[in-house]
């Protein structure tokens, strides 16, 4: 009997089939385990780099010289705890970055906003959203510069609503819910900061 004929006979045997499945399972999980170990550190590094990059987007360039990721404090917020990243230059607090969320037309819009210690917006970026492509996605900095319109605005020097509702922020043709949600989320972020300002200043001074 040649090897091929033997193999054909084995293939029809139940123990062979069971063994085959076991070996395939063993080999594939071994390969995945090895790959997981090899890639874990690089993946974590790149995620950290991504976070650092998205935080840096909402702060003016050269406005800080510390590592944002390790310079954090936590304060209670309406939706649980909120992590605040503190930007410093020459040990002076120059900016605070935190994440807020808005309820958009299609699910949650995650937003990261940077403000100066006085409570004026330095920059806002949308981290993730599921708004309608071509309409609501103009909140994305890559699609339009609408999101820049927040810079320099504070609680006292702006009407926090879209123009349709008597405010000063543009809505988009065919999409009002999306910009309304972003304006509301940023506004709430500022109000939250106004409440927490003293605590944050105390903890941030450390």
């Amino acid at each position: 009997m040649t090897f091929d004929e033997k193999l054909e006979h084995w293939r029809s045997l139940l123990p062979y089939q069971t063994g085959l499945l076991a070996i395939v399972g063993l080999l594939t999980s071994a390969a995945l385990t090895l790959a997981n170990q090899a890639t874990q550190t690089p993946i974590e590094d790149s995620l950290q780099k991504d976070l650092q990059a998205s935080l840096a987007q909402v702060l003016p360039p050269n406005s800080f010289d510390n590592k944002l990721l390790t310079s954090t404090l936590e304060r209670p917020a309406p939706d649980g705890k909120r992590t605040v990243y503190v930007a410093r230059k020459a040990d002076q607090v120059t900016g605070l970055v935190f994440e807020v969320a808005g309820k958009g037309y299609a699910g949650t819009i995650r937003i990261v906003m940077g403000i100066d210690p006085a409570g004026k917006v330095l920059g806002v970026r949308v981290l993730s959203h599921a708004e309608t492509p071509g309409l609501g996605d103009k909140i994305d900095a890559q699609k339009s510069n609408w999101i820049e319109s927040f810079a320099g605005k504070g609680l006292n020097n702006a009407k926090w609503a879209v123009k349709k509702d008597g405010g000063e922020f543009d809505q988009f043709a065919g999409a009002t819910i999306t910009p309304r949600a972003v304006v509301k989320a940023v506004h709430e972020g500022l109000q939250w900061y106004a409440q927490e300002k003293e605590n944050i200043a105390k903890e941030g001074a450390k």
């Binding site: 193999l7 089939q17 085959l20 499945l21 390969a31 090899a38 993946i43 780099k49 492509p133 071509g134």
Partner: protein, 226 residues
């Protein structure tokens, strides 16, 4: 050699995954809102399809027919997960754009389909050629659907190509219809089905014409019935 040409022709046109077999529609409809996305998804699928075909053809003699499906599923799923992890670790910028699609490839029935229909019966080289040509046929169809939807929907072509293929590909981004207001229908899911339907119909018409022409050539005098 002739056989490989035939395999290539089947993959690219005759048995095109989308336009002839009409399978893998789920990822196809989801990602073809722009030509760039279609191209990216197509190339990622091609890589997985070629590797899985090759792998399965190499071990095909060891696999019992009774347990072949679980073995194929295990192999394909681990392969996709490996690609996913390695891209995330070492090609992170590309992964940020393609990451969503990589996970979608696992559920792409074209991969299991080719493993079952081709790679489990043919030698490794033929299976590799089949995987590459099926994948490129899929890529072509995806890019075409994406391009039509993008041009009709936004008036642009290959938007954000540089995110996928680097700054060298930035020239791909073109405005086809200047000052176009946009037509959302084509970007949203119904647009995908409309374009897909038109392409399927177009392919049928084209093939019918070719067949008729071949027939006319064969008997020089056209046969008039009635």
């Amino acid at each position: 050699m002739k056989r490989y040409l035939q395999i290539t022709r089947d993959g690219l046109w005759n048995q095109n995954v989308l336009l002839a077999q009409s399978i893998a529609l789920c990822p196809a409809m989801a990602v073809t809102s722009s030509a760039t996305n279609g191209l990216g998804m197509g190339l990622a699928t091609t890589a997985v399809l070629a590797t899985s075909n090759l792998l399965i053809a190499l071990v095909r003699n060891w696999i019992s027919a009774e347990v072949r499906i679980p073995v194929f599923v295990a192999l394909i799923a681990s392969l996709v997960t490996l690609v996913d992890m390695m891209m995330n670790a070492w090609l992170h910028d590309l992964y940020k754009v393609l990451g969503l699609f990589i996970a979608l490839i696992v559920v792409n029935c074209a991969i299991l389909g080719r493993a079952e229909a081709f790679a489990s019966r043919e030698p490794p080289l033929a299976a590799l050629v089949d995987g590459i040509s099926m994948g490129l046929g899929f890529t072509g169809a995806l890019t075409l659907i994406g391009a039509i939807r993008e041009v009709l929907g936004t008036g642009m072509l290959f938007q954000q190509a540089h995110l996928f293929f680097g700054q060298g590909a930035a020239w791909l981004e073109q405005t086809i219809i200047p000052n176009y207001g946009g037509m959302l229908l084509w970007i949203l899911p119904p647009g995908g089905f409309l374009v897909m339907g038109m392409l399927l119909a177009g392919k049928r018409v084209l093939e019918q014409r070719t067949a008729e022409r071949a027939l006319r050539k064969a008997n020089l005098r056209p046969i008039h019935c009635c």
